[in-house]
């Protein structure tokens, strides 16, 4: 049974800090997804857990063992690489069994474990092939097989699906979810893909510049982002932002206006604002609806018709461009004026420092 505990983890390359103090705890059996922009240190953090990178300072606990200076093979982890990293000169059978061979597992047991893993991943027919004779999806299976034969407490995945085509990615995603259910092991997963993060995770960790921005369940991150960065990063298409002024405060409701929006009343933490303050309003593209009495007016500049929904780029009077996702198909013409209503129960206000001003629950 192994959870993980990070205490003020730091990593510097030379004098360049990459991970700047990460505190995090992961329960046993949780599926945790690290997301963040490219170069934010996701892979570095994962490799620190694996023991492939030294920890500059801080503590890494796996289970109840302090693992800062423990060899990778003794950490009870297995890792799946983006490039699969299969040994090209070995058959699939030997690839999967390599770790067991090194651990001097006896031959019969090794064989049984390899065949078990192959059965779980439905790749029994591939065991005699070399990696070069496999498709991308099959290689991915072998890489996962190599991880599961070792029966680790913690699985580490670094963008394992990003080399697969879209359809296969969906299949493998579901298989991973099932694998997680069946094995009940802790999984830590790095991805760029919003959908992977939202669907797989019990807990998402949003990183930026080596700092944890927010940790939480996927829906929490979507509905209650802690700051501008998380709000902009989670959800696709991206959240729209506008600068607004507080017009009046009434209990937990703040009414804000801007050049583009005549007025919206938002439930917010009103104790941290006062009338006249300049704040940032965040509105998700999905939360704008066509409404003849709406508070937002803009001109259509670009339309993408996807059939089930329509993506519209809207030019607002102030010059800002907002993205709107309308349900169903709409045949809109360029420069047509649209009037939209803002669903005020879903909008979020942010203060000057970018922290969200959500009403406490």
């Amino acid at each position: 049974m192994a959870g993980l505990e990070f205490k003020a983890l730091h990593k510097t390359y030379g004098s360049v800090p990459v991970i700047k103090g990460v505190d995090l705890s992961v329960d046993h059996g949780e599926f945790v997804v690290f997301v963040g922009p490219s170069g934010c240190g996701k892979s570095t953090l994962l490799r620190m857990i694996a023991g492939l990178e030294d920890i500059t300072s801080g503590e890494l606990w796996i289970g109840d063992k302090l693992c800062n200076d423990v060899e990778p093979r003794d950490r009870g982890i297995a890792m799946v690489f983006q490039s699969y990293a299969l040994y090209p000169h070995m058959t699939v059978y030997d690839n999967v069994g390599f770790g067991l061979k090194l651990a001097r597992t006896d031959k019969a047991e090794r064989d049984r474990k390899i065949r078990d893993a192959a059965r779980i991943l439905q790749m029994e027919a591939l065991l005699d092939r070399k990696p070069s004779q496999l498709s991308g999806g099959q290689r991915q299976r072998v890489a996962i097989g190599r991880a599961i034969v070792r029966q680790p407490e913690v699985f580490l995945f670094d963008e394992p699906l990003s080399n697969l085509d879209a359809a296969l990615r969906v299949d493998m995603r579901m298989e991973l979810a099932k694998l997680h259910q069946d094995l009940g092991a802790t999984m830590i997963y790095v991805t760029h893909d919003q959908v992977e993060a939202m669907t797989l995770a019990d807990k998402i960790v949003v990183l930026n510049g080596g700092v944890v921005q927010q940790v939480g369940a996927p829906i929490d991150l979507y509905q209650r982002p802690a700051n501008l960065f998380v709000a902009g990063f989670i959800g696709s298409p991206k959240m729209n932002f506008a600068e607004v002024t507080v017009q009046s405060i009434d209990g937990t409701m703040a009414t804000v206006t801007s050049k583009d929006i005549s007025s919206v009343s938002v439930a917010a933490d009103t104790s941290r604002m006062s009338v006249g303050d300049t704040l940032t309003l965040g509105v998700r593209p999905h939360h704008l609806t066509l409404d003849a009495s709406g508070t937002l007016v803009g001109g259509v500049s670009l339309v993408e018709r996807l059939g089930n929904e329509t993506n519209v780029s809207l030019k607002l009077p102030s010059g800002a461009t907002w993205l709107v996702v309308l349900d169903g198909d709409h045949n809109l013409r360029g420069s047509q004026a649209l009037q939209l209503a803002v669903d005020s129960s879903t909008v979020v206000l942010f203060d000057k420092t970018g922290q969200s001003l959500l009403a406490p629950r």
Partner: protein, 275 residues
């Protein structure tokens, strides 16, 4: 037009290599068939009579079967030196390509220096005498390893750099210790370079004439190339025996080459296309 030009070019190339490589070889074979008076003429004539067997017997038995000792010595030197070269150079290449330290620049400079600066014979002999290695087979092996190491390292290092680091790391996570990573993952993947290295170095070391001449004196220590001296002297050279000797000692490298030839070509194209 273009077709014609390429045919002419091809024919010219074949003719050129025929003159350079095949004609001398035919000359050697013809000479090996002749008797002493005819071979003394050193011309391109057809042998009168079949003397190859007599020549062979005489070459092999000369000076108390020196040829046999020489073959054993040369084989020992070649096999052990090449084995050491492969293992050591691959290890150095692996570490140099993988571990970036401040020393790398200096180490690379030393390797290049080893490749470019000609070895000084007399100080080397003095050093070897001091270490009691002079005139011994293992001393000779160390010399061959030292002289050929830089080239092999450069060969290996370039190739190790093309092996993704993920493979090492995957092996480490699978529980491999450094030596496991090297012997079970890296070295097998270096096979194409290893073949090239084996061929180039074993032919070079087997055919080495000057180094055994300097560092390995004594009849007991003769290597095959030194047996050539048996039939050559200022006043009396038996050309038929000399050329039979040449023929005899050209055969092993030829066999090595023929044996590995297909693998060399396979090695050069393997990994060229990412699968």
């Amino acid at each position: 037009m273009k077709r014609r030009a390429s045919i002419i070019g091809g024919v010219a190339a074949i003719a050129g290599s025929f003159v350079v490589f095949v004609i001398p070889f035919i000359f050697i074979i013809l000479m090996a068939f002749k008797d002493k008076p005819q071979s003394a003429l050193r011309d391109f004539s057809w042998p009168q009579g079949f003397h190859l067997w007599d020549n062979l017997v005489q070459v092999v038995t000369t000076r108390n079967w020196m040829m046999i000792t020489a073959f054993i010595n040369s084989a020992l030197i070649t096999v052990i030196s090449v084995t050491l070269l492969v293992v050591l150079a691959a290890m150095v290449g692996f570490v140099l390509a993988r571990r970036k330290t401040r020393m790398n620049g200096l180490i690379e400079f030393l390797i290049l220096a080893g490749l470019m600066i000609p070895p000084a014979v007399v100080p080397t002999i003095w050093l070897m005498q001091g270490l009691k290695l002079f005139g011994t087979l293992h001393g000779m092996i160390l010399i061959e390893v030292a002289y050929n190491l830089p080239f092999s390292i450069i060969l290996y290092r370039a190739f190790v750099a093309t092996i993704p680091r993920d493979l090492d790391e995957a092996a480490i996570i699978d529980g491999a210790r450094p030596l496991d990573v090297f012997f079970r993952i890296i070295l097998p993947m270096l096979w194409p370079v290893t073949v090239t290295n084996i061929v180039v170095q074993s032919v070079g070391i087997f055919n080495d004439f000057t180094n055994p001449l300097y560092y390995l004196p004594g009849n007991q220590n003769a290597t095959v190339q030194l047996t050539l001296y048996n039939f050559q002297s200022q006043y009396n050279t038996s050309y038929n025996l000399l050329f039979t000797n040449i023929l005899l000692i050209t055969v092993p490298p030829l066999i090595v080459f023929l044996f590995f030839n297909r693998q060399i070509v396979a090695g050069m194209t393997a990994g060229a296309v990412k699968g």
